[in-house]
Symmetry: C2
Subunit: 455 residues, 2 copies
Amino acid sequence: MSIKPSLSKGTRDFGPEQFVRRQYIIDTIKNAFELFGFQPLETPAIEKLSTLTGKYGDEGDQLLFKILRSGDYLKKVSDELLASRDVKSILPFISERGLRYDLTVPFARYVVMNQDKISFPFKRYQIQTVWRADRPQKGRYQEFYQCDADIIGSDSLLNEAELIQIIQKVYRELKIDGIEIKLNNRKILQGIAEEIGAGDNFTELTIAIDKLDKIGIDKVVDELLGRGLDQNSVDQLKTFLTFNGSITETLEFLENKLVNSEIGKKGIEEMKSLFSYLGETEKIKLDITLARGLSYYTGTIIEVVPLGTDMKSSINGGGRYDDLTGVFGMPNLSGVGFSFGLDRIYDIMLELDLFNDIDLNQSKLLFINFDENCQNYTYKILGKLREKGIKAEIYPSPTNKVKMKKQMKYANDRKFPFVVITGSDEMDSGLLSLKNMATGEQEKVTVEELLLRLG
Amino acid sequence: MSIKPSLSKGTRDFGPEQFVRRQYIIDTIKNAFELFGFQPLETPAIEKLSTLTGKYGDEGDQLLFKILRSGDYLKKVSDELLASRDVKSILPFISERGLRYDLTVPFARYVVMNQDKISFPFKRYQIQTVWRADRPQKGRYQEFYQCDADIIGSDSLLNEAELIQIIQKVYRELKIDGIEIKLNNRKILQGIAEEIGAGDNFTELTIAIDKLDKIGIDKVVDELLGRGLDQNSVDQLKTFLTFNGSITETLEFLENKLVNSEIGKKGIEEMKSLFSYLGETEKIKLDITLARGLSYYTGTIIEVVPLGTDMKSSINGGGRYDDLTGVFGMPNLSGVGFSFGLDRIYDIMLELDLFNDIDLNQSKLLFINFDENCQNYTYKILGKLREKGIKAEIYPSPTNKVKMKKQMKYANDRKFPFVVITGSDEMDSGLLSLKNMATGEQEKVTVEELLLRLG
C-alpha cells in the first residue's frame, strides 16, 4: 500500500534553483559578516526545554516545538496527573526537549557555557534554521532560517556602527536599493515615557507604539488611554509620535523636549556618538516611533524596511541588550545584535527580478551517449574536463536504451549550454561535434579546443 | 533565578574553529558533487510521521524523534485510551510529526511529489542534519550531518562509476590517503544464497554476513546454524567468506562457483561492467563479504573504510536500489546513492593532523584603539581595508575604557597576525606602526603599503 506523500504544514522543500538563489543571499550575508570579523557558530537544533522556556514570553512558550520522550513516554506521569488531562502540568514529564526558537538564546547559552574559552568582545554570526509552531500563512513558516550577528562583551557604539555598515554592504551587493534603516534608542523611549509622566507604563507604551505603523495614531492613543495613561500624557506623546524631521532636527527636538530625564539624555548622547561614527551616510532615519516589542533591548534599536516593493514587513531587526546572559548566570554582559530575514529578502529579490544574473552553477556540457563505443571514448574526455574543474556530464545510458531525442530533451530541460555528439566519424577524426544549445550552431572542435572554450 | 545551562544529550555546539574545519570538509564534498553535475536539494527537518514511519524497520521507528502536537495535545485521546497507558496506540493522537531520520526518505518523497517537474535521471546532493534518538556514545550523536548524493531514474552502472570517482576525488583533496573502497553486489550475495541452498534465508544471511568484521567467521556460522541453515549450506558459505584475491581472481572464482544462479551471473556481469568503466584504479576491493544490512539495496553496494587510523567504522556507505519511491506510489525507479560520514572524516583528519594547513579565515589585522582621536583616524583606514575585501577589525573601546594590555591580549587570543598601534606621532606623520604578532617586529608603513601588504 502506498500513501500520497505531502509536506508537513508550514515547511518547504528547496529544489535546486531555489537552493542556489537562497545560497547566494546567505553567502553574501556570510561574506559581509566575515569581512567585519564575525566568527561562525553552530548550535544544535534540539535544546533542553529548561534552556528555551520562559525566554520568549507566554506566547513564545506556546510556540515552542516540544519533542516527546523516547520509549514509554508516560512512565513518569502518575495516574492521577494523567487523568487530570492538565496538559501544562503533564508536559514536563513527557517532554524535556524542544526545537530552537531563535538563535539568540542558544547563543547566550553558548557564551555562558564557554565563557572561559571566549575572548571578549565575542563577535559571532550564526545562520541556521529555527522552528515556531505559528499558524502558517503567506510568508510565514514553521521552519525558517535566521541569519544573526552579535557582538557581546562590549558596550561601545562602534559595534552598532559596524552592524549598520554590514546592512548597507549586504543590500548594496544584493542590488536592493530601496531600503530604509530605522534607528532609535530604548533610552530615548524611556526618556519620553518619563517626560510625559508615564515612566511606570514603559512596557505598555512600547507595545502600543510598536503598532503605530499598522493601526495608526488614533488607535494607539485609544489603546494607551484604555491601559490607564491619562489624557495629558497621551497628548504629550502625540507630539513625539507625529514629529518628522532630519536626523539633526530630530536630535534637536529631543534635546529640547527631554530636559528632565537623565536616561533620555543618555539616549540622545548615544545616538549622537553613533551618528558621528557613521559619518555621512544614506538610507538612515532616526525614527522615534520605532519601539521593537521584545523587552530585552536597552539601547539602540534597529529595523530595516524595504521601500517600493509589495513587502511591508521589516527585513532586519535588532538592538542592544544589557543582560542577555543573566538568565543563565552571567549578568551585565552588554551586547548588540541583529538578524537578516532571509525569506523576505528572497521574496523581494524575486519581485524585483534580481535573480536573473545569478550563476546557477550549472553543468556546462552534456556528452550525448550514442553507444558503448562512444560512451567509452567520451567518458575519458569527460575525465579531462573534470580534472580542469569544468562541470560536465555524460548521459548515463546509450541510445539503444534511451533514444537520442530523449537525451536531447534532457539536455534542454537541464539547460546545458552545450552538448557534444560523438559518432564514428568524430572518433575517427578526433574532432568532436559541439552544439550550442542557445543558437543551435554546431561546430567541430578538438579536445584541446573544448578545454580552452569551457575552462 | 538563574540556571546553569547545558546541552541536550547527544548534541554539540560547533565553535568557530570546529565550524571552519567542518565547513572545509563539507565544501570539498559539495564541490566534488557539483563538478559531477549533482544539484542541491534541501528538505525540511520536520516531516509527517506518515512519511517517516515504517521506512527504517521497527528499531528505526523507535529512534524517530516525535514532535508533540501544539496546544491541548491530549484533545484527541479518549479517556479510555489514555487510561490504558498504551503509548504506542496513544502516539498517533498526540504526535503527527517527527524529525528527519535520514536524507533518503525525504529525497524519495520529494521525487514523488515533484515527478512532473524533474528531468530524470535526477542527480541530487543533500547536506543536512538528521536526528536519531540513539543512546549517545563516543562518535555517535543524536544530531549529526549526512552528506548524500543520489542519481535516480537511471539503471546505468556508469552512475556507480561516477560515485566512486567522487569518493576518490574527495579523499584525494582532503589528503586522506589510507582508504579502501569495498564493492560488492547484492545480486552476487543472492547468487551465493541460491548456490548454497539458502535462497529463502537471504535476509538472515546478509544480516549475519554484515557482522563478519565484528564477530568473526565462527560466530557468523553459529548464528546461521541457529537461524536454521543446515551444515552443508554453512560449509559452502565458508568457502565464499574466506576467499581472498584480486578483483580479477575474485570475479573468476565467482564465475566458477555461481554457475546455476541467474541472478548471481547478472551480479557478476554488473561488476564486470562497473570495473570496465572505472578502468585501472586503486584503493578498490571487490569484497564478497560486504553485505550492508539495509534491505532496500538490490545491486551494487559500496562501503569505504579508513586504513591506518583509530577509526574502525566505515566513512561512506551506499548502493543501488530499485524501489525507493514505490512506498510513495512511484514504483520501479532505479537509483544509486551514497553518503559521506562527516563526523568520522572530521575525527580522522584530526587524528592525522590534516587540519594544520587550513585557512581559518581569520581577520588579518587589529587596530589598537588608543583614544577617541585614534579611533576616528583608524576607523577610516579600516574602511579602506574592508573596501578591498581585507578582513580587519578595530578594538571597539579606547584605552581609557579597556587597557592597552588587554587589547593586546585580545589580539593574541584571537590570533591576529598583525596589529596597528596609532598614537599622535603616527597621525602626524601618516605612518602607521605595524606589528607582526608572530615575530614581534614593528615597522612604519603608509596606508597604501598596508593595503598592498595585506591585499
